[in-house]
């Protein structure tokens, strides 16, 4: 197998271009996301405190990514995957028999992206947090 310098450069440029392409789609997804969050909050401002996400920094496979969301006293937590074709993931509503406002599930992430949780807290205000999850693409059949 022989690569000339020119070919190597061409391959590199192609790779760089491919790497840049998803950026446009990403910005668009974020615009959708803000609209969806406004729908959930009724347009209210979101604070930073009161909600947490526990998600892996690196997911070995985007098909099954374990996450945990928690917001003490909250009535509901909505979860969004900003970079998925459709960002909504789930909305957890906690009833009077919930002991803690915490829930875990397993989600699909189409690529490396931010997972966002927005909670409606006990006083009716909203809080928002984000976790970045890197989805790896393996060498062995993806």
């Amino acid at each position: 197998m022989t690569f000339t310098r020119r070919e190597t450069l061409a391959i590199g440029a192609g790779a760089a271009l491919t790497a840049m392409l998803p950026a446009a789609g990403f910005a668009e997804a974020h615009a959708d996301l803000e609209a969806l969050i406004s729908e959930f909050t009724g347009g209210a401002e979101t604070g930073a405190d009161g909600v947490t996400i526990n998600a892996p920094e690196i997911a070995e496979n985007g098909n099954t990514v374990p996450i945990e969301v928690s917001a003490p006293g909250a009535t509901a937590i909505a979860v969004y995957a900003a970079g998925n074709p459709t960002p909504p993931v789930a909305t957890f509503r906690f009833g009077p028999m919930a002991a803690a406002q915490t829930a875990s599930t397993r989600i699909r992430l189409a690529r490396t992206q931010d997972v966002v949780a927005v909670a409606q807290l006990a006083d009716g205000s909203f809080a928002r947090t984000v976790a970045n999850v890197k989805v790896t693409i393996g060498g062995c059949g993806g």
Binding site: V89, A90, T91, F94, T102, A103, T105, R106
Partner: protein
């Protein structure tokens, strides 16, 4: 109804009054997202479980709206208060109108 849908739930069989317990649920379901295409290039229609609820003696513990981003074989873990002996009821709602149910009793 999707084939072979089978719920599993894990609840302790007993607890002390007022104890907080951890509940886990898993149900076999393909959760077809509506994003995939078959070998002929046609979109495979969405077919998911879109809601899951858990109640204790008729009062709600958790009510989850589920989207196609929930993985195949949906898994949930959450907590509940157990003030008295009673029954947890678990219900999953499928896009196609099917409803899958399970229940567990717990003794205080």
């Amino acid at each position: 109804m999707a084939d072979n849908v089978k719920p599993r739930v894990k609840v302790p069989s007993s607890a002390s009054a007022g104890e907080e317990i951890v509940i886990k649920t898993l149900i076999s379901h393909p959760m077809e997202s509506g994003q995939r295409k078959d070998s002929d290039g046609n979109v495979i229609p969405r077919s998911i479980i879109n809601r899951f609820t858990c109640d204790f003696n008729g009062e709600n513990v958790i009510d989850v709206t589920m989207e196609p981003a929930i993985s195949t074989n949906p898994y949930f873990e959450f907590t509940a208060k157990v003030p008295e002996t009673g029954e947890f009821k678990f219900t999953w709602y499928d896009d196609d109108g099917s409803v899958y149910e399970d229940s567990k009793t717990i003794t205080v």
